[in-house]
Symmetry: C2
Subunit: 296 residues, 2 copies
DNA sequence: CCAAAACCTCGGACTAGTGCTAGGTTTTTC
DNA sequence: GAAAAACCTAGCACTAGTCCGAGGTTTTGG
């Protein structure tokens, strides 16, 4: 209990509230779950494990990218789930069952929510209502998640990457985590974010360099409609331009993003947040009540 | 100074560190920057403004979606930048200049980084190195950002939405925020995240419901290659399958995601994190050293 | 254990959509 | 007022999407 408590006091409260009064703060605050180099992964994972245990007797499960089945490993290639977080090493399909909670409804919920939440077989409990989570199928919760309940921290990262850290009570059988969630969600979120963010930074090299990717207004406008499935002809009608013009703009955007075709252009533009979210609302909508153009 | 100090002590430290010892914690901790309903937007913005001022005499600038030029407004339609954050109301192109810091290099940096950072004309300073930020052009920093330096909190949200909150010193002329960043980044990040996250939740309705969007392994595999610009023929060669099979899988994925063509399929799959990040590394790469398949 | 339901593998032909090259026009910038 | 962007247009070769079809394999559920 002391390890997590001290750390948090130091990094989240103590320094900040007194600083304007001129208190002397150590210039390099050590956050145990932060990761700067691959060598930090193991100690950071251990720190996260200890914090979770001390706070509420939780077992940790972490995934840096819900799109990948690659397990998280330390600098020497040891799987964190086994070597640190204490999940059993079942020989076959070890990643399917025990890599925890990630089998089914949890990653789905993470796609739709950025705030921490907690789950049991009866529902998903968020701090603020999110209708999208109500549609998630929890019918096989018990089998898919090795616990009666679990606290989940979704972590949305650049380039469309989604990570997740889940905390399940070692005292199995607990079905209500509302109190723990209320108390510890902020801390768990903070450390999870540091951990997953740092891990992603040091492990995934992204050599992609869209040098001059300053898309123009028209280009984004066309891309936006293309992303929601409109064809050249439709976009041309919507924007009141010729079909060829639409193609020109999209081709220009592709050049700037160093993409070879329309799909890759949409993909890269989405990853970079050019089409973010607003387009989603248009999918089922009637257009016209959208935001209009965007920052050029 | 008292308002922010008290609040932070209560919500981030006090409760957490003592809870395991059984201290009695109020069941509903009030976070002033949290937003549950549209009516909360205004008080939350005021709280954020006050916190920023009290902490380090900062002025706030916020954008819930860097892809949209729509300004953030309260429930009555008042632009927060003017009515609360205190930015001047220039008649023409008000959103271009003063909405401030958001004009140029800042949103770009937010696309590549999920951790808070601070910037001046000489560079971008992160807690951990990020090569992608070194390529950003800061040559016109002074004109584009109405300050000599600024602390930036990027906020990555579901559906590929990217928001940002920036804090610029009211004491203009300050060029070094390293100390302030060290001390306050965590707090600023916490409140910014609550504010932007809550704002996005209550303002953007996303009626999109991909009911059964459980993509199969092959489907994601094909989509992944399609997203990086491979044609059907290329994907067929890569996977050792026929061209018809590749089309079958991608068409199936499109059906599940309720997409009408390939571009929209890639778009939706990207928004949902199915193609996240891993594919980016393949763009400039030589394939094969990728993660392989993904969770089905 | 069997059956149903997914999933996966293929082929061909036709239509709609896209990529690309080569221009011209308008607007912005210096 | 010239240069540089950005914007607009057109036609042709190619690619992707659709519709038709056939079968095999793995999961699911009774």
């Amino acid at each position: 209990m002391e390890s997590s408590g001290d750390t948090l006091t130091a990094c989240m409260d103590g320094s900040a509230t007194q600083a304007t009064a001129g208190a002397d703060i150590p210039s390099s605050r050590h956050v145990p779950t932060a990761i700067a180099t691959p060598a930090d992964i193991r100690p950071a994972a251990e720190a996260l494990r200890d914090i979770a245990r001390d706070i509420g007797n939780f077992q940790v499960a972490a995934c840096a990218n819900i799109a990948s089945k690659m397990p998280m490993c330390d600098a020497d290639g040891n799987v964190l789930a086994h070597s640190i977080f204490g999940w059993p090493t079942s020989k076959e399909q070890w990643w399917k069952k025990p890599l925890l909670a990630l089998s089914s409804p949890l990653p789905f919920a993470c796609r739709y929510e950025s705030d921490p939440f907690w789950v049991n077989a009866a529902g998903i409990y968020t701090r603020a209502p999110n209708p999208l989570l109500d549609q998630i199928d929890l019918s096989h919760f018990d089998e898919l998640v090795n616990a009666q309940s679990v606290i989940v921290v979704p972590i949305h990262l650049p380039f469309g990457q989604i990570g997740v850290v889940s905390f399940s009570p070692l005292d199995n059988g607990r079905k209500d985590l509302s109190r723990e969630f209320e108390l510890y969600a902020d801390q768990l979120e903070y450390h999870s974010r540091r951990f997953i963010g740092g891990y992603s930074r040091v492990t995934s090299h992204r050599p992609w360099i869209p040098k001059n990717c300053r898309l123009s207004k028209r280009e984004v406008e066309c891309l936006r409609w293309a992303a929601v499935g409109k064809t050249d002809v439709e976009i041309a009608m919507i924007l009141g331009r010729s079909c060829a013009t639409v193609r020109f703009h999209i081709h220009n955007a592709a050049t700037k993003l160093e993409a070879v075709n329309r799909s890759q252009t949409v993909f890269k533009a989405t990853q970079l947040g050019y089409l973010g979210s607003v387009a989603a609302v248009m999918t089922g909508g009637h257009g016209e009540h959208h935001d209009g153009a965007m920052i050029e």
